[in-house]
Amino acid sequence: MSTEAAREVVRVEDVVKDFRPGFGLRVKRVLHGISFDVREGEIFGFVGPNGAGKTTTLKVLMGLIRATSGRAEILGSHVGEREFHRHVGFLPENPYFYSFLTGREILHFYAKLSGVPAGQREERVETLLDWVGLGEAGDARLKTYSKGMLQRTGIAQALVHDLDVIFLDEPMSGLDPIGRMEIRNLILRLRSEGKTVFMNTHILSDVEMLCDRVAVIVHGRIRYEGRIETFLGKNARMSEVVVSGVTPEVVQSLEESLGGELRGHGERIAIRLEEKHVGEALQLLLSTGADVVSVTPERASLEEIFLSAVQQGESDPEAQGARRSRGLRGPGNAPGREDS
């Protein structure tokens, strides 16, 4: 989907967070001046390994912890204010609810806190229970719910006041494949209804499937921010062409003029070359009577690129700290920030 010229609903500018472990004077810096923004109507993936600072960032945005310096805004309001919370929902990681309440009761509880008028509460709660597929389990106590059901209850409580932006912290964490598929479908449905989704996650397949844009955080520093396609290195994909019956002259021509990389030998060989040269290579091969067996586009998986970013961060943390996060180069051939 297009997010061109969409308004910013979340803006984080040079946010630093220091913690003081214990009673000593030593300070541990968890966020090193991070900056990014989230635009209206998109699914934004905030990606990073465990301990990178994802949850800390989300807590700063939710006002659960205060930034040491920098500025964070949601819907144009400073995160220290309360009023914008009427338009925002939040699902913490592994949410816990009062186990003695039923699904229906917990939604009524959050509806009251969210200021849903008394006359609309009943209808809103019933709609949400159906929406997340808990209509029949609404009168069961939460202590009897499975992890997937609790996660769906968490999404329902976040949506109880018909919001504009929803923040999800590891929404697929600990779920089985069916549970993950259910939550993925709910997230896609939220976007189709025009909601903005901010998702903290380290499950990269979900990022690839769901997110329009991502920010990658490693060791408390943003390593990349931009569209997911760019992050995956769309412009520099490689392809492998497997052919048989090709002459040595043609192979030499492919290597020299198109930068092809020969793999294997004998009757059937594989030539690895940049995707933009594939058409030209195929023309040449077919014109010389070669038999094209297969053309397979290679794409670095998000996982590979992500691990590369993590390794880069681990190998050079201090040097990264000297630079401002927003100007950093991303992993591989991806830029540090893509202004789409």
Binding site: H85, G89, N94, P95, F97, Y98, A158
Partner: protein, 256 residues
Amino acid sequence: MILRIWTIGHNTIREAVRNKLLYTLLFFAIALIGTGVLVSTLSYVEGERILQDVGLAAIRLMSVGIAVFVGVGLIHGEVERRTIYTILSKPVSRVEFLLGKYVGLVLTTWMMLGVMAVAFAGVSLGYGAPLDGGHATAFLLIGMELLVMVAVATLFSAFTTPMLASLFTVGVYLLGHLSRNLRQLGDQADAEAVRPVVSFLFEVLPDLESFNVTLEAVHQLPISPDVVVTAIVYGLGYTVVLLVIASHLFSRRDFR
């Protein structure tokens, strides 16, 4: 704001009444009230007064026990289990959250006080001991003392661990009942430096003996309305100050 505080308060009551510790303390309170019957038989005179003295002392002690041990756990539990995350993500301020927990806890301790009062009245009537307005006043002021002690527990649990909060609250309770003796001790002290320290402690610590009219109630002595009004105003004022400090500390806290 009121609806949000009440919603949290109401939920706090629902959570507290499921706490087994609450019923353990309530059981011991009622057992102690009943024990008064046994103790009173040891004396040939004033058996009724001994019965009521023991009963009221048990009620005071167990009520504070409920305020401290149940109260401190409830606030800490919200942070530990992270239920506070979803609540504060709603348009609920931290002050509203804290006041909601406070209101719920006060109402829980008052409900338990009510149950203990009924047990006390039942044992007294069964034993033939007199009951009058003095006893009602004693219960009213125990209720005021609970208002203060729950505020003390709330203050400490707003910024420290349950263990420390419990210790501090019990410490304040003990010193609060000794604060008048502390001042007398300071007045009699030879060392000049001791007096301002003792005087400061007396001013800062709650004077919990203001809420103690057990002696008057048991001996059916008149209780001046001035004493009652002063105790109520003092209790309310002290509670407000404690809650303002607790709110300030809680608002600055990071929920890591």
